[in-house]
């Protein structure tokens, strides 16, 4: 018999960390305010007391240093989980991530692997202003050598970490800040979770909504809203942003003949642009309407609450885009 329990996204990440720390003594955590404070988003609360300061390491305020040190530790066989408080601060570690973690396996002729996991919060919507509200996962998804995942559900938050740790390549996990308080029921006995495939979160026949991370819930709600008007939308959660799972996307678009891509990043040069391009490359003759994109307004993210809300993709924007593609074409 399967037993279940209600878990928040935050607790799920914490359980995943605890599980990894318990299963493999090579695993350790490193980052700012992760120990005594319990993490900026309270993800690692209690882990310092449980695992001690050698495995739950509060670091100096040096992003480049703790990512670089994580790479060094991974090179000699440790399994570091580096927390960069938010994607905004990862800009200070770009050289280590892009020039070192992403290239070393290749440039060492395969002598090295970098089994490093970097977790970071991403996204806007918490009134933190332009410099603390970035959605830059699309940038990282541009880099060969990195694996980029975005758990949008509690189950993925619980399961992706271990899979990422088992992966010999550096894996970046993007957790959207709006997700930490979401909750779901998980089975006590958890099956392994893959980090390769997109998932169909809602099956539908009229249009495919492709999204990930913080905009999945909004997309599902939008799908329910249009369902009331007789439009049956399929919602795909990308889960893995690099490499992208083209097969799941194309399979869906070939059935629905319409696609809307929802991405909290800025439209120009975005992940949404990449997906849209792939659909036109691979499924152009199956489309009944041009692909629509719902992205963030191309300005620095506003700080004032009402402006920020207006700038970000909202359920109403997704509904409007779905209606446009359904109305358009044949």
């Amino acid at each position: 018999m399967t037993t279940t329990r209600k878990t928040t996204y935050r607790e799920a990440v914490r359980e995943a960390l605890r599980d990894a720390l318990s299963r493999d003594e090579r695993v350790f955590l490193m980052g700012e305010d992760i120990g005594r404070y319990g993490g900026c988003y309270a993800v690692s609360l209690g882990l310092l007391e449980e695992f001690g300061p050698e495995r739950i390491r509060d670091t100096p305020l040096s992003e480049s240093a703790f990512v670089g040190a994580g790479i060094g530790a991974a090179l000699v066989g440790m399994r570091p989980v580096v927390e960069i408080m938010t994607v905004n601060f990862s800009l200070l570690a770009l050289d280590q991530i892009v020039n070192n973690a992403a290239t070393m396996p290749h440039m060492s002729g395969g002598q090295f692997s970098i089994p490093l996991v970097i977790r970071m919060t991403t996204g806007a919507g918490r009134q933190l202003a332009a410099q603390h509200s970035h959605s830059l996962e699309g940038w990282y998804a541009h880099i060969p050598g990195l694996r980029v995942v975005a758990p949008a559900t509690v189950a993925d938050a619980r399961g992706m970490l271990w899979t990422a740790l088992c992966d010999p390549d550096p894996v970046l996990i993007f957790e959207h800040a709006s997700l930490y308080n979401t909750a779901a029921t998980l089975a006590e006995q958890l099956a392994p979770v893959d980090i390769d495939h997109a998932a169909v979160r809602r099956a539908g026949t009229d249009v495919t909504v492709i999204t990930y991370g913080g905009t999945l819930a909004k997309s599902l709600e939008a799908a329910e809203e249009v369902a009331a008007a007789g439009v049956d939308a399929e919602v795909i959660d990308l889960r893995a942003l690099r490499p992208l799972d083209d097969a799941t996307i194309m399979d869906s678009v070939r059935r629905t003949h319409r696609a809307v891509v929802v991405d909290e990043g800025w439209r120009s040069g975005s992940l949404a642009a990449e997906i849209s391009a792939r659909i036109t490359e691979q499924a152009f003759y199956d489309l009944d309407a041009p692909v629509e994109r719902v992205c963030t307004v191309e300005t620095p993210i506003p700080y004032a609450q009402h402006l920020e809300r207006a700038a970000l993709p909202q359920q109403s924007d997704i509904v409007a885009a779905v209606r446009r593609v359904v109305a358009g074409g044949g």
Partner: protein, 398 residues
Amino acid sequence: MSSPERWTQPQPAGTPAATAARPTSEQVIAGLRATSEGGPELVQLLTPEGERVHHPEFDVDFSDEELRGLYRDMVLVRRADREANALQRQGQLGLWVPLLGQEAAQIGAGRALRPEDMAFPGYREHGVAWCRGISPKDIMGMWRGTDHGSWDPVERRFHLYTIVIGNQCLNATGYAMGQRFEGKVGDDNGEATMVFFGDGATSQGDVHEAFVWASVYDAPLVFFCQNNQWAISEPTERQTRLPLYQRARGYGFPGIRVDGNDVLASLAVSRWALEECRHGNGPVLIEAFTYRMDAHTTSDDATRYRHSDELEAWKLKDPIERVRVHLSRNGIADHDWFDAVQAEADELAAELREHVYNLPDPPTERMFDHVYAEANPVLAAQRDEFLSYMSTFAGGEH
């Protein structure tokens, strides 16, 4: 080619223990820290008990009027700070970054600046802003989100707040290099720049690079580090093994630790450092040894990581109280005068509150302003499309 797995074999259990030279994490957690003592090098002119003491290098004679002025400055900025903190709690501001406890460091440094000097703040420098003639109203408008950059940094000689930790140190270095290249240093009429950052920022690469650049280009720059003992939850021991002011030696310029809760010493040392810089002998590092008496920001809860006895110990070193005792004991100010300052502070708070309540929400289209200096056709099209879409909602609601 070898298998990647070759490099990922399990390691033996156990990691090296902490060395004896620094506190173990357990000691830190147990609160076994001696942060409230600044050590023998601490420059102090006014003790926590309000006693005026003298220093062989940094002594300054203050007139009674100056002393009263410094007290008034500190009382007013603290009152404004407390009001803003309360307004954030009432939902009137998105965030507030409390200044509480750092009034002396900031008023001392701020009053040492000459009008022509330049200052680069972090995000907590409400006291320095006050000294540059910037109203707390403007700072509150920024934290409410009604405008971006409420003051003119060129006119006020005070740059806009920098949110990213420590990166203003590089901007300040560039600015100070400019002052030197333009021949504005070298005599009594020279200019200088002061940059404000914290103990946490000293671990950032940007701050190291600023130290290197400012030193090799002899920039007229005072690095004013407010060591308030905490970088959110991380104590100073997580950033440094040796007192921060001693780092300057490694870069080849002087470093001084001043009692940051002593407004007289903060002013005297800052004035000296700025003089050094305007005469071409910069840079200088000042470590103002102080304490963040409130949380990091209104999103933080400091009780999660520090003990109340530490705060209580620092309350005995309060920057305002020691000046009050000094003024009172020496007959420099009487009861009526103190009451008048308090009344002025309460009046300021009421005025600020009223101002914040009445700040209008900016129109939605304002988010498209100033993304580029001149209108950009792509952005203009997005703006028009956006506004047209917004107009389809009742009352423009999204």
